[in-house]
Each structure stands twice: as C-alpha cells, then as structure tokens.
C-alpha cells in the first residue's frame, strides 16, 4: 500500500513539472501542446476511494492552471475526467472492470489505447471549450481539441508503455 502511495505522489509531482516546464512550451505548429499530466488520472488505482481521487485530480488541474495563468480550465477538465473515469473504464475494459481486477501494467495495447483516447478527447474538449469560452469559435475549439488530442494520446501511450515494468 505504501509503495503504491509513494509511486502516486512521485508520479503527481513528476508529471506536473514535466507538464509546466516542458510540455506547455512545445507549441508545435504554433499552438499544439500535449497535456500529459492526465496520465496521472488514467493510472490512478481503480480501487481507491473516489472522493480522494476527485480531490487530487482537482488539485492537479489547479496547479497546472496556476502555472499557465488559465483561471480554472484545467481544474474543471481534470475533475470532469476523474468523475467520468468509471464510465470510460467500463466502456473500454468491460468485464474486467466489473470484477475490479484491472492491472494497467498488463492490459492489451488495444484496450489501453481506446481507454486513453476516449478520456483524452473528453478532457481536451472541456479544456478548450472553457479556454476559448466562445460558442461562435466552435471550429477553433474542435481544431485545437483534435490536434492536441492526437499529440497527447501518442505521448501518453508511449510513456505508459515505456514505464510499465511487467510488460512482456
């Protein structure tokens, strides 16, 4: 248990620092940035208390906001993703989720990708809708969501595969 908590705390801090120091300043093609801090929300232990999980996700989003001067958009997107996670888990993992026996280290790559894709698109859509905050710019919102999502998904999947120990 302690080991898991320690890993999560380290992951929290590391992902936050990588996000604000490196990923917020990539600006690929002018405006495309990956938001990889949501890996923390993806990989948070499934069995843990949901209230704590919601709160930690909120805190993570708020810290990213603090660094990027964006009001509360990351906090809102992160907490929504955390709240919707059981649904996304159910739709991607199916039976495994019912039995509470998901191990992110040892899932099939296809399932992992579908899980991350749904989550990322949800998160980014909320994020950019709130950031642009203007319904008439819906094309801009969709464009940003699409391209940033692609970037985030590729990076997230690579990072998860690279850092999972038990994969054969």
């Amino acid at each position: 248990m302690n080991n898991v908590t320690g890993t999560n705390i380290a992951r929290f801090i590391l992902l936050l620092l990588i996000q604000v120091i490196i990923c917020n300043h990539i600006n690929f093609l002018g405006y495309i940035n990956p938001y990889i801090y949501i890996i923390f929300i993806f990989l948070y232990p499934v069995k843990d208390e949901r209230l704590l999980f919601l709160f930690i996700s909120f805190l993570l989003g708020l810290l990213v906001d603090l660094f990027s001067d964006s009001g509360g958009v990351h906090a809102a997107a992160a907490v929504s993703l955390a709240y919707a996670r059981p649904l996304i888990l159910k739709s991607s993992f199916g039976m495994l989720y019912e039995h509470q026996s998901i191990k992110f280290n040892a899932t099939e790559i296809g399932i992992l990708i579908s899980y991350i894709t749904i989550g990322t698109i949800l998160h980014h859509l909320i994020l950019f809708s709130l950031e642009v905050f203007n319904v008439s710019e819906i094309l801009l919102i969709l464009k940003k969501t699409l391209f940033s999502s692609i970037f985030t998904i590729i990076l997230s999947v690579l990072i998860i595969i690279l850092f999972s120990r038990n994969r054969k």
Binding site: L54, D65, L66, G72, S80, L140
Partner: protein, 273 residues
Amino acid sequence: MQQIFNFVIRNKTFLLFLLLLSIALTLTIQSHSYHKSKFINSANVLTGGVYGTMNSVDQYFNLKTENDILAEENRILREQLLNSSVVKDSSFIDTTYQKSKYRVTTAEVYKNSYSLTNNYLTLNKGKNDGVKQDFGVITSNGIIGIIDNTSKNYSRTLSILNHKSQINAQLKSSNHIGSLTWNGKSPVFVQLEDVSQFAPIKEGDTIVTGGESSIFPKGIGIGTIDSFKTDISGDTYTIEVRLFNDMTNVGTVYILENLDSNEINSLENKSDE
C-alpha cells in the same frame, strides 16, 4: 432530516464533483474579467520560483540573440545621443524642462505564452521593486503589454496577445486613433479597430501608441499595417497590424512607470463628476 443525510451520503461523490467543478468554473469566469484573477496566477512564490530556476538554465541558450538585441539597441541609443537636438554648448541649461516623466525598470521574462487565447507573461520584478498594476511593458522594438497583477517578487503582464487587452494606438503619420485588440488567431498580427474612415491609410505605414492613455508614452512602436478593410457599418477601418516584436521570443523587457499618472487620473476623475 434523516433522509437529507442519507441523500448526501448516497450521492457524496456526485456532490463533491459538483462542488469542485463549480469552483473551477468560478475561477475560469473570474479570469475572463480584467483585474479579477487574483488567486490563480503565476505571479506567486511557488510558480515564480520554479520558473526562475528554469529561466536560469534557459538563459544560457539565448545569450547570443540577447547580445545581438542589446548591441542593436545600444547602437540606436548612441545614434539618438549624437543627434540629440539639445544644444550642448549653451550656457543656459533648463533642467526643469528635462524632468523625466517615466521611470524605467528592466526585468527578465520568466514565462511567456502566445499560443493560448489569453496570454500572459511572468516577470521577475514585483512590489519590492516598485512595480504596480497598470504599468506598461515594452522591449526595444515595441510594446508587450500591461502589468495586471503583482506579488512581492514577481509580476504578471497582460500580453497584447490577449482578448482582454485594449490599448490606445494611433497612426504615426497622422493623429487618427483606434484601439488595439487581438482576435486570437496568430501571434504575429494584432488588430487596430475603430479607426476613422478619414484616416489616410497605406500598407506599410507604422502604428504607434497613442498619447491618450497614461500607461504608455506617445510614439512607442507597435507594428506596420499589413492590410485593412472597412467595417460592416462602413464608418471605420479595421487594420491588420504586423507586430515589430516577435512575441514568441521575448527575453528582457522594460517596465515603464508614468510618474504623472496619479495627477492625470485624478484630473480625469474630477471631470467625470
């Protein structure tokens, strides 16, 4: 009563979610109104410290460009000094006439963003250095923005690449004024709106800051006219301005304090009554 408690306990996850989401939305909405984003901004000890450490590493990679910019600026200053119109050998020097109106502070940019819809810069000078809200920020090329929040050692600048930014500007060739806004599309262009249709506009003309606001002195460079079109109403021009500054590469900036701003503001408030 029992039922209320039961309801709360049963739906505690959803209620916490609603609470956190509404906090986040409140912060978001507040951040869209100028001068209200007090709590969530990057001018504080934690974020300033992290960005400061990062900047001290980052600086070394930009030393060469930074040197070039400084050398170029030195050249311009030297030129102005040599061509200055003040007659040096006169026996009478009117010192009161040369009283400076602006105090200039140099600052390092710790964080710069230009790809969001509302962009800010974090600078390494704050209240301890006498920097306050509504001071202007420029570089040797032109304007950057206006200070909108300060902490002890850091300050946050509302970039001209921000929906909230509205700066008084005018044509260099005539005194027709307009307000400078940004449509969020490209960090290279800003828009000058509400320019009178009688203004003589040519592509390539220079746009400078107007003297109407007490934040910037008159005549600081902004950019050149790239294209222009008449408004829907047909009364005014909207001008696409190509910025002098490369907003994606800002290292050292100057913070301007107008020493007369209190006097000007109190005078203007008086006439409102």
